[in-house]
Amino acid sequence: MPDKHIKTVLEIIKKNKNDILNVWKNNLWKKLEYQRDLLSDNEIEKYAEDFLNLFNAAIKSEDYDFMSSEEWDALKDTVTQLIHRWSSQGFTIRETGSFVTTFKDALYNKIKENIEKNPDVILSVFSILDRLFTDLAIFSVEAHVQSRDEIISRQQKEILELSTPVITLWKGILAIPLIGTLDSERTQMVMEALLQKIVETGSDMAIIDITGVPAVDTEVAQHIIKTINAARLMGADCIISGIRPQIAQTMVALGVSFDVTTKATLADAFSVALKRVGFQITNENHE
């Protein structure tokens, strides 16, 4: 709904534009003290000026519904862009949020200076502005969290892709080093990668190395057993290697067993695998 007093705000912004910008930038720099290395005056200047112009235009539209009105879309885009940039550089929510809050402080002070003597105007103007800035603050927090979520899900995907290499150790012998905790999603990927490689290479043996698995509880064991069974159905035998002493102890305590050959190190498992496939290792120096 239009408000006749909001025109005063526009006039104040117009008259004191540079003043507001300067106070705002100064306060913002204070809030962003720890990120001084990552920021330039130009960047702040550019975003601040863009923001102020867009804010002005949106107010002029007399539509104060920040969340759903299209009039505010351009402003939202600018804020989102800035916050994505800052949050990916490691700024905290408080720091990214200060872009909006310091502007609010600068603007409020200017308004108070100018229309102090008119309580009615102040009341009606601030009731509109307050709602706007609350929404803006929430919006900037949301933008920050969203950009963090994007980073997290991208990294999760990268980890998944990185963590399932299947290595051909010898003709007919594959190795699959598992790193990190096994959940059902990762087990699925490991299983698919292993079985695919078994078909491609016609391998008879697969060594599952769990050196990089931090803990083996019943759930993780269940996932490993599934992988072993699937490989067995394809006609490949599995050996498990890389069982650390503590893990051996927890496995026994939990009553977990794999029903296949298990070895402490990948080297031991490899020599067993070679023997089963029909190779023999000899040391020519007889040491």
Partner: protein, 120 residues
């Protein structure tokens, strides 16, 4: 009525499943295989399922029981050529077919049968 052929190769019987199995077909195959083993006194059975794209729990169980029946009749069974997707499905269904022999392809399957028959 369609049936899955059972071929005799020396001491072994060769079953190659080339079409999608439905339950009736699997039951028939089980009966035919039992008949054929006792008639030919075969020492080994090789079941090639490389063309099977879909295996449900019934077919999975049927493969297991075929293997057991053969064992009772004195023949070792090797199932060869299971597709990765099928293996994963069976494991997820909780059917890991413990106690049956598997190999990657027919060649390896015959080699495994040779070894198993030698042990008998």
């Amino acid at each position: 009525m369609e049936r899955i052929p059972i071929l005799k190769m020396g001491d072994y019987l060769l079953v190659s499943i080339q079409i999608d199995m439905h339950d009736k077909l699997a039951m028939d195959l089980k009966n035919d295989l039992a008949e054929k083993i006792s008639k030919t006194s075969a020492k080994g059975v090789l079941i090639d399922i490389s063309a099977l794209e879909v295996v449900d729990s019934f077919i999975g169980r049927m493969l297991g029981s075929m293997s057991e029946i053969s064992k009772v009749l004195g023949a070792e069974t090797v199932i060869v050529g299971m597709q990765p997707a099928v293996a994963i499905t069976l494991v997820e269904l909780g059917l890991s077919l413990k106690g049956i022999h598997t190999a990657l392809n027919v060649e390896k399957g015959i080699k495994l049968l040779d070894e198993l028959v030698k042990l008998q």
